[in-house]
Symmetry: C2
Subunit: 246 residues, 2 copies
DNA sequence: TGAATAGTGTCTTTCAGACAGTATTGG
DNA sequence: CCAATACTGTCTGAAAGACACTATTCA
């Protein structure tokens, strides 16, 4: 962790200037057939940086409350949504002298997938769902959050190509058509039905629930994740035509 | 970045306790047909944590010197190897109250790939190459560095399955057999020759150099990376038999 | 019966795996 | 010639793409 010169008196930890440390969470869900992300409005106080702008939910690490970065992310998520997320993954960290006018700062970006919420459909005044258009949202974001969001969207899209992640955008029980729709929404392209079903079954991703969903058509078999805690990796991406991107 | 309660006076940034912020670099190379990682010995001073133990090269971010996390990583790398790395990627960050006895700390882990060095073959006293055995090294590492190393090895192995990363373990000019050997060393399994060559050519990974390498056998065509700056993604992993792992 | 969605079957294409075969050098 | 490594060709099999087909409900 530390080696300044061959032999030194112990580093005076009080003497060095410490950066600000924060966590930001990109919370995704699918509403009305489109990928959405939850944003919060920064306070209007002009003494704050980026007053009144939209931003990713997040904030500084609290060394008293937060045992580690991930629990800090879960705390932020709980604050904003009141929901326990079925999936949380670190995207990466961005740190530098320029990204926050107040000080050298490092932020740690996580993304979460949650099923379409009922209560938060029209979020509170300062927390609102925005559709993801391309890799962005229509509003201008505070700090470098547009870049952080872009990285999270890219990671999500990329990983959806070869994993079971979209299942976490659905409630525990879902039909195969539901699941396929989640893939199509995130990837923004249609997927061939029979190939999709073959893959899902071959991977042992789901298990049947002893129920069907009725409708004005043939009822659909309901499934749930066979192993909800572990994400499944498919051996290939969905469209081998164009290569993946990290 | 900040929302404690609906309406507050601006956050007093001096008042909150800031964590320690560091960067650690996992420097990989291939020596004698095996993957190696560079480790440094911590000072023997008993007032330091983990005195005398082996650790990943790294250290605290210097808010004066380091414009951002990546340049901090490059600085650490330069200090230890004197080499400009052809490849550097962030693995992730680990932060918590327990990982450093001195304070709540967050470290940012990068991995670098460099061609087998000539001068550093037997490193200096406090920087030595250790073979990677499985996901670990034989010595016990300081702090949580064993975990960080494990994460880096896993990321490397995983990504080698479907990218051109191993090319950065070679000098600029190499034969296809050289390249294949790098894949085999990192993945610890043989790869089928003709499939390998087909993939490499289909991806447009390399271009011919107007030279051959002679030997006690048929001379081999030399190649270089067609686009050294961008890594290439293959449409499938090398062995579809077992799925990938992140 | 028809609209709508669920689910299956079949043919093609793509590409890795296996493995045998040819090519070109030095000794 | 032989050993050694470079390189190519051919067959097979696994899984995706395309697309047509059947199944089951409600109105």
């Amino acid at each position: 962790m530390k080696q300044k010169s061959p032999v030194v008196a112990p580093f005076n930890l009080q003497a060095i200037e410490r950066p600000l440390v924060s966590v930001d969470v990109v919370i995704f869900t699918v509403l009305e057939g489109a990928l959405h992300v939850l944003l919060v409005k920064r306070p209007d106080d002009p003494r704050e940086p980026c007053p009144g702008m939209w931003a990713l939910p997040g904030g500084f690490v609290d060394v008293e409350k937060d045992a580690d970065l991930e629990s800090c992310a879960l705390r932020k998520l709980q604050q904003k949504t009141g929901v326990k997320t079925p999936y949380l993954e670190q995207v990466g960290s961005w740190g530098g002298s320029k990204r926050d006018p107040r000080a050298w700062s490092a932020t740690h970006v996580y993304f979460a997938l949650i099923p379409a919420p009922e209560s938060l459909l029209q979020g509170s005044n300062d927390a609102t769902w925005f559709p993801v258009e391309g890799q962005r949202v229509r509003v201008k974001l505070a700090f470098d959050h547009a870049m952080l969001l872009e990285a999270a969207v890219q990671r999500l899209r990329n990983k959806v190509e070869y994993t079971s992640l979209p299942a976490y955008l659905l409630p525990q029980e879902f039909t195969l058509s539901d699941l396929q729709r989640m893939y199509e929404v995130v990837l923004e392209r249609p997927i061939e039905k029979s190939a999709f079903r073959t893959r899902v079954f071959a991977a042992g991703l789901v298990e049947e629930v002893d129920k069907v969903r009725a409708g004005p058509n043939r009822p659909a078999q309901l499934y749930r994740l066979a192993h909800p805690r572990e994400i499944v990796y498919f051996p290939r991406t969905f469209s081998p035509r164009k290569s993946a991107e990290d």
